[in-house]
Symmetry: C2
Subunit: 349 residues, 2 copies
């Protein structure tokens, strides 16, 4: 997920303040960092759109442009690895702007002593992931730092893609009454990474949902559905993605807990560890905002695609609780799905 920028509620910088892990978690502290450090320096219309990709006009064409760093630990996990993550993450950020024909760059920061064999494996995984979604890796860079000054390998992928004429997918287009669709069950990626970290093992093995979303988006657009906004649920999970849209589009979002698909393995692991699955990272799930009248048709399109087979209409955009996400629980009560300070699980992507 590309960091988005929000100028609301700036907090003054305390002297001697230092970066915490939560500053990279995608939650409230990440937003504060952006508000206090990046927005004052770089505010401009493309940033202000608060999108997964910036959309630029270059020579009369709209070009989506995005970047993301990948520092996941461990680098290989059930269902994927850092290479697949780096390709799909950037392809997905472009898709969230309705862009096609993804061209990618990859910058590697390697630690001296890193095994070339493992680098080969990461690169092979990037190649396969790119081939799986028709993306092309067109340029790259490699830097090496001395032993002990990095953690094996970090990858930063950036991407560009063309936004077709007529496609206008962005937070500002979300309207009260819009249906909120979710493309599948949530929390797999976070639990998959956790399952191989610190030697944890769960009864039902969970695989990461790590996958490209460009096909789902193309399906919606090709069906002529006027998609208002898309967002993939990555760091901070479904709850964070919805909070970002609620804040950036200045609307409320009401979610029906019973409608949010969660697989047994994720549910069991979350219960065991005291995690709320709504906040656990995904890497192949998105929310789509469409007019209520289009919701049925859009759901049919999503469900017709292998990666959207479990799609559900999970909620509605409201004029109440602007900037907030409210969960209607299974017992009929309401609970705020607030933006967390950080990610429950650091270095998840």
């Amino acid at each position: 997920m590309t960091t988005r920028f929000d100028a609301s509620c700036p907090v003054p910088l305390a002297p001697d303040e230092r970066v915490q892990l939560a500053h990279g978690g995608g939650g409230r502290l990440t937003r504060q960092l952006i508000e206090r450090v990046f927005v004052p320096a770089f505010d401009n219309p493309a940033l202000a759109a608060r999108h997964d990709s910036a959309v630029l006009t270059l020579g009369g064409q709209r070009v989506a442009f995005t970047t993301d760093g990948y520092v996941v630990q461990p680098r290989t996990f059930p269902g994927g690895d850092v290479g697949a993550l780096a390709v799909y993450g950037t392809v997905n950020d472009l898709a969230m702007a309705g862009a096609r024909s993804a061209a990618l760059s990859a910058a590697f920061i390697l630690e001296e002593g890193f095994a070339l064999d493992e680098l080969h494996g990461v690169v092979a995984s990037m190649r396969d992931a790119a081939a799986a979604c028709g993306a092309t890796l067109v340029t790259g860079d490699t830097k090496v730092v001395d032993r002990g000054k990095a953690d094996g390998l970090f990858v930063v992928t950036s991407g560009v893609g063309l936004v077709p004429p007529g496609v206008d997918v962005r937070p500002a287009r979300v309207r009260p009454g819009d249906a909120v669709l979710l493309s599948g069950d949530v929390g797999r990626h976070g639990i998959a990474v956790l399952s191989v970290r610190d030697g944890l093992a769960f009864e039902s093995p969970v695989e990461s949902d790590c996958a490209p979303l460009d096909g789902l988006v193309a399906g919606l657009l090709d069906a002529g559905i006027d998609v208002h906004c898309l967002r993939d649920a990555t760091r901070g999970g479904l709850a964070t993605a919805l909070n970002e849209i609620a804040l950036d589009a200045r609307v409320g979002v009401e979610v029906d807990e019973a409608r949010v698909p969660i697989c047994d393995g994720v549910a069991a692991a979350c219960e065991l560890l005291g995690l709320d699955p709504h906040y656990v990272a995904c890497e192949g799930r998105m929310v789509a905002f469409v007019a209520a009248d289009d919701a049925g048709r859009a759901l049919d399109v999503l469900r017709g695609h292998a990666l959207g087979a479990g799609a559900e209409r999970i909620g509605t955009v409201t004029t109440e609780s602007v900037g907030r996400v409210v969960l209607r629980t299974r017992v009929g009560t309401h609970r705020l799905l607030d933006l967390l300070s950080g990610e429950q699980l650091p270095r998840i992507c």
Copy 2:
């Protein structure tokens, strides 16, 4: 400098082989890494052009796209810092493809505990650098890794820009007989970084040449000069930039040592440390290849710009010694300026 890809002379991968600092130095080992790991996975026409930027066709427009990681140590040095370097480096890679209207992304990888004050400083420097060359930072990402797993801060900048119609700047256009122009004196950046590393201090303080080259390139193109190829001299200095062009364009390059400007401070430091200044990194110098008939006019254009005041015609493209750079020394002998294994000074950018 964006890594370029070369499929010549692949070397088999030995078991248990590990990444060395020289793999990131921009020299022979970087090329080997690319040949053995990246090219087999990702070869495609944009990569094959071996350019500082990939040039894509998006919706009928040519878009240049590039990425670079910045891991310089120390992060601040006379004449610049990692923030300015990250902006100018990417602006320059776009300019080397003749592109304009640079839009940049920045991905930060931060170590837990990094001082927010220093982050503010880096971001302010990026803002000032972008303003100095009309670039816009449109999107970003922040990741945080645990203490001891990075070295304070790494930045990866990527950029896109539009290549105007009629502009065709790339290695394959270099022709025997072309004049080789250099925009100013070489080696300042490497010596400036070295001067603050390990407590070294030189008699004549040297400032980095860290600067944007887009103005120089626009000057040449606006004057109607048919620029065949451009390359900024970064890691590995002038000699490495010329070797890359010689290899990628399959030509020879003869350089007149007496014509290569080197300031007194750089010359003295190189003599003291036994460094060859032709290999010491620059961050604001480029070589331009133009037809011999255009050389005089192109030099006038470069010299009319503050950042090109010291421009010289340093050599000629030949049909002899294909893939090699030959230095005609002050005493009239010839010496091979070979591609080094790595960079003489690690983590120079």
